[in-house]
Amino acid sequence: MNLEELKKLKVKAQRQVALREGNKKYRVVVSMGTSGIAAGAREVMKTMLDEIEKRGLEDIEVRVTGEVGLEDIEPVVRVEEASGEKTTYARLDAEKAKKIVAEHLEKGKKVDNLAVGKEKKPE
């Protein structure tokens, strides 16, 4: 950790704030409780942010929440669509996170082999 690195943070945080405005097509919620952090949720979130930026995807909001009650399959990420549809991805790492950005967030195709639970279809 050095001061130069910290200075870059300002620019990144600014972008984060800018991304929150307006209606988004997707909202990505990362579980960041103790169990999630221990399993690597922070790296997953960082990878997704970097990947979203790299691909120039603009209608995506990335948020963080506390424990979601899925401690044994962390890191857990939930992708919520504007239609209300929610997909939960579990046991992620940086590579899988990249795949979710490339497939689900960019092309709109769910990554079925990483998803868990039943799909919640909007009423």
Binding site: L9, I37, K46
Partner: protein
């Protein structure tokens, strides 16, 4: 056990956000001359009464009533890390007065985890709740770095030069709260 101190910081600061804090101040003081590293996470959330505080400091307990499983290891883990590295651990809290968690350790201790990716920690906290002002004070023997998540939001149209200009190494006397926390930090380390 977390491999990085910045993961401990993220974990503890997530509690602050859960406690509806409006400001979370994170101080990391790396003093090579005193061979000491101090981490302080201070919030203005709803705080804890003595009974709750006793409970969360015991291992494997949580103040989150919604949980059936015994999670809530966050503070216990940080205490373990601090004590393992010849340091001290302290939590101060009172209802409606916020919570201050302080952990110190010997900088050169062989078991001291690296600080790690502090930037990712701050970004995660900003993403946790955009309304919360996440502040970071990073101090070394010679330098002081200050970051506040509220700054970029206010100065969104600022030019890159303008942004660089606000990365100040001196604090202004007008910012009473921050100055207080600085001097408190200095007092604790002295």
């Amino acid at each position: 056990m977390f491999e990085e101190l910045s993961l401990h910081i993220l974990d503890v600061a997530m509690n602050s956000i859960a406690a509806k804090a409006r400001t979370v101040q994170i101080m990391v003081a790396e003093h090579a001359r005193r061979d000491q590293l101090t981490i302080r996470i201070q919030d203005n959330g709803h705080g804890m009464d003595t009974a709750t505080l006793q409970r969360v400091l015991a291992d494997l307990t949580t103040a989150k009533r919604s949980r059936k499983k015994n999670i809530g290891l966050g503070l216990a883990l940080l205490r373990q890390t601090a004590e393992m590295c010849d340091g001290k651990f302290e939590v101060r809290s009172a209802p409606r007065m916020g919570t201050t968690v302080t952990a110190s350790m010997r900088l050169s201790h062989v078991d001291r985890p690296p600080l790690g990716d502090l930037n990712a920690t701050i970004l995660a906290l900003c993403a946790a709740n955009p309304a919360v002002d996440v502040q970071l004070h990073y101090l070394t023997d010679t330098e002081h770095f200050h970051f506040s998540s509220k700054e970029p939001a206010e100065k969104k149209v600022a030019s890159p030069e303008g942004l660089r200009g606000e990365e100040k190494t001196k604090y202004e006397p007008g910012r009473t709260q921050e100055v207080e926390s600085e001097s408190a930090a200095a007092g604790c380390l002295a």
